[in-house]
Symmetry: D2
């Protein structure tokens, strides 16, 4: 054991990533330290670096979805089935915690992803709060953080390849009520879109049409379960015509938006069939307004649009379970082009920002 | 019996309403003629007169929701419970019929209000098709039109006072899953908004906040069950603040849009609580596009938006049933300022267009 | 302040209720003491006295739904909207607490009423745990217990008259998806049945048929919103015929079972229409098996049967809210025949057991 | 063309199957004759032969799910997408038709499988009604019967191998809301159970545990997607223990009952997790009552039980679509041990009755 945590720190928006040493925290009962195996570099980290999220306490240690071994623990920690953890266990954890369990969102509407007290590793904690981000050689598991072991046969590298996009997609596919025999279009071929397409197919959807770019990602998502890919180089009207041609002229039962561009909202409404459902899961930051037609795109179309914000433990649990079984034969690892040391975290971030890679992973 | 039907005819958009005589149709088995007691003049008729609906076969006999006695019938007609109709029965009928029962919308998605074959009395039939609109002394019930008797104690005048807005609102309240203890805001104080507020209250919602104009309508809707009224004279931001003040700072569980103005869509998204539901029921014609913010108004808000198009028999049946019981003590009749003869149909239409009256009724 | 709590104690099944003094507990931060205004004597207390519940740590202080003023508190307590409590506030609290927030039921299936860690005031706490039941002059609010203020204008006496039956019924009516225009039959005319009928009517159901006994309870429930009452003196087959006669020969859309007798399950299946829904809410203890026919009563009938166990905070919150608004004009207080001092708690229990009273209330 | 239809006729319960010639019907507009390629012999035919269904107009031509080419047609027939059929098209059709479209079940509850007017090929039509069963060289498509073409690449032999069990299972899996990541147990390893297991797996369920017999069927269903098989030779309590062992001690999320034995109902309630869902789809005929415990098996368990009766066009449509895509790689054909000529229809029936074969097919 050491008395310092080495971390790659984002000191401010647009500033270079710096390596720093952070004090090793005192472990209260019910807390632990993970020795980081992998942590993810995802689109949210790019948003963080662009300063697009409100209320971020820079300097921060980015990295919200991570994997590691329990290096130290104090008191008893148990998983959701009551099985105790022990040192050496390889685990991941739900990055969102401190959902308060006391507010209207937690108790009455039961939409805990809207709890105002939620804290998120790598996003809403600053360096001053302790080693609470994944781009570090150790991560502090505060009391109450929900850890999960991997099912037998699940390689942690597989999980981190799905990562945050996988967990988000579990929620999006659930919120879209994607089920056997439904036709699905996914807008966006980033980590969320790729995972959403894979999960929709595992859920029995057909066709599963991905609209995105560049071609390399469309090629990859085809290996993950997408039945059709349409390039963003094709004009929207023609893309819509192709979707209708694949669905007896109607449009798809469900659209999952994972693109982030505001224009994806009205486009989704053009691609869905009358009475179908659109899940808006990719508008994580504010990229501006967009025009829709309430008559032709909403009312007359009898359509349903569902925002999909964040994830709770059920999505995280199911993501790990799906990787362990239904999804284990898919080439998730193909999403990770390269692993980066802590020293190269800035490079990893830049590669994700330039969309050179689908996903980068920090392996300290 | 006569050999002609006298009808008030809309010959073309913007043209004056004319009285004409239409041939009495030959009755096939399963068809009937109603002697019109009442027919409604509603906002749709104004849209028809403005030429805002596509594919209308002018000249037409307007009047889609109507009430009458069976003056003649051929063969057997039965209600939904299998009870035969007889001459002299006072009935109303679902204006939408010829839902095909054979298409994807009828059979697979089971969203029959999107069936492309639907025909609507007073809207998609022309004079050339026969006396198929309510602004006439008789209305032809084609085979397959679904008639309903009134429950004991239901005055047909009460039903026509609710009329098309009542049936539409049954659908909107159902689609909003308004139920005991939910807070509701209704946008619009026309016939649909008024009925939606009344039904929401009958469904146990509280508060039921109506945003509309003019003050006379807000006063009326207060007698129908609305617990709070907010005038359109109040700026939107202040209206939103008032709604939050009534809902512990959160916004309402359900917004029912019955306003028709495109701006009502983003406004509804501002009034609903995180994770709540917005029903878009008032955008019956195309009044243009509007801007929304996919991030803050949809995705982060985890909201659900549901278009609500048309009505099917279940809504019509339930509308009549609710009037017979739960809703019978409400002052529906207050919505009808004046009854007009066929000769004065043009006046009735003008009064509705000027919003001088909430609703006008033709009593031939 | 005192240093003892006076309590009416159930020392063992079938033993007489005894008055005892219990030590005043040390208040940890986030805890409080209520000065009891009212506590309920309900059917569960009879079951407790009959020894029909497993794992009860006798001796116990019964009384799970209670009302009181905050007599003392330590640290900060806030309601679900974040508003702090202060001494003197009149409150009630959710008797079920220590739902663990960590198990599969709490986190994955999100059915927290099945959390194995739940603790219930007056049932799963013993005298040895402290003054954790309502039949006492003070009740200890442990940290994490969820308190609620009464809305302005809600008399605590009104709430205790609804009590546990009201909260249970909120859940049952929600689980039955009772909504505007649905026909409902309620089996049982005890506190749960009476409240279920009242809530169904407030939710816009019609008819609301209560089957129960004795006649006095049927008379009372008619004042609470039931539209029809059928006595248990009428044979089941005839009761079923009456229900069909009120529903066009079909049976009701929803049956809410609040009777407790196992025979109510197959009877409910006879009363519901094809494709309807039965909520089983009254089988709180094991009163034996019963025969059903899987073909004619379940499969061919295309029916839905839903068990309904316990309540969570959302039901409790909504119960208080409904009393504050939609339900405030109903004669809830008519359910309480008499108030009993702590000394007479045994009498109160006996009166409930003999069904002499619908509900008895302890007012220390 | 011929002027007679050769058919294998079930003249009465328990009587031998006879070959008869039936008059070729006059074709009204909108009707057709199919040249039968395949027709199914299923468990329902055994029930028919045992006289267990009420209201069957013997003599009948059995065979409800069938495949054939259009040999003759009059007027225009179109599929659900409006595409006209032509002579020579290879099609199948929904055996249930004349759903009335006018009754409470068709129009208000929208549960058309409970429409009292439904007619079923091979079951509710007698020889006197015409050649309206599949065990014949031709089958009369009355006006309104809903035909479907096979998607490109779907071998009709594959469809008939799934047959009625496939269509029924589509409904059961839909009614069970089986979706990605759910654990499922299927009771019964007949055609419905096998198809339900296959569809549950295609829908992303895991594990998919089949409980049935004999071993040969468990072996087959393992090739169709079941992840675990448990023999009926294992006592129920031990089977339940095995199911719990596969589900972290909880029981499965969804049980689909396709066994037909009344005892399967309480057994399903033992196998499902708290708060889970049981679909009762196998109790097609009355095999007697069974005991359940309303407290421990329904109420406390907070479970949901759904009867599942018949199928509508949406299930039929989706069954064909699933075979065309998601399910095309499964060895459906393995369910058909042998094809029988019309002359050997009695042998086929006997083989199904003895459970020698999973399914027999008539190929005239």
């Amino acid at each position: 054991m050491t008395d310092k945590v080495r971390a790659a720190v984002m000191t401010a928006p647009r500033a270079p990533i710096e390596l720093r040493e952070i004090p090793w925290p005192a472990l209260e009962p019910g807390s632990a330290m993970l020795r980081t195996r992998f942590s993810e570099v995802c689109g949210t980290d790019v948003h963080l670096h662009h300063g697009k999220l409100a209320g971020v306490p820079y300097p921060i240690i980015p990295g919200h979805v991570s994997v590691g071994e329990i290096a130290a623990m104090r008191g008893e920690l148990r998983d959701v089935h009551g099985v105790p953890f022990k040192e050496g266990d390889m685990v991941t954890f739900l990055d969102v915690h401190e959902t308060c369990g006391k507010c209207y969102e937690c108790l009455v509407t039961k939409q805990t992803t809207r709890c105002a007290k939620r804290k998120v590793y790598g996003i809403t904690y600053g360096v001053a709060d302790g080693p609470l981000g994944g781009w570090a050689d150790h991560i502090w598991m505060k009391p109450g953080v929900k850890l999960l072991r991997f099912p037998k046969g699940v390689d942690p590298a597989l999980f981190i390849a799905g990562g945050c996009g996988l967990v988000t997609s579990i929620h999006a596919v659930e919120r879209g009520e994607v089920s056997l025999g439904k036709s699905v279009a996914v807008l966006g071929a980033g980590p969320v879109g790729i995972a959403a397409a894979a999960l929709a197919r595992l859920a029995g959807a057909h066709p599963v049409i991905v609209i995105g770019a560049p071609q390399g990602r469309l090629d990859f998502v085809a290996t993950m379960g997408a039945t059709h890919g349409i390039s963003l180089d094709v004009p929207h009207e023609e893309r819509a015509a192709q979707v209708r041609a694949l669905t007896n002229g109607r449009g798809v039962d469900v659209v999952i938006e994972a693109a982030g561009d505001p224009r994806a909202l009205p486009q989704a409404l053009d691609l869905v069939r009358d009475g179908g459902r659109v899940v808006i899961a990719g508008q994580y930051t504010d990229s501006g307004d967009v025009s829709v037609n309430p008559h032709s795109q909403v009312n007359r179309k009898h359509v349903e649009i569902r925002g999909c914000w964040g994830c709770d433990f059920s999505h995280f649990y199911r993501a790990v379970a799906v990787l362990g079984e239904q999804g284990k034969s898919l080439p998730w690892a193909g999403a990770v082009s390269e692993r980066y040391t802590l020293e190269r975290a800035g490079e990893a971030l830049a590669a994700v920002e330039r969309r050179d890679v689908i996903k980068a992973v920090i392996a300290p």
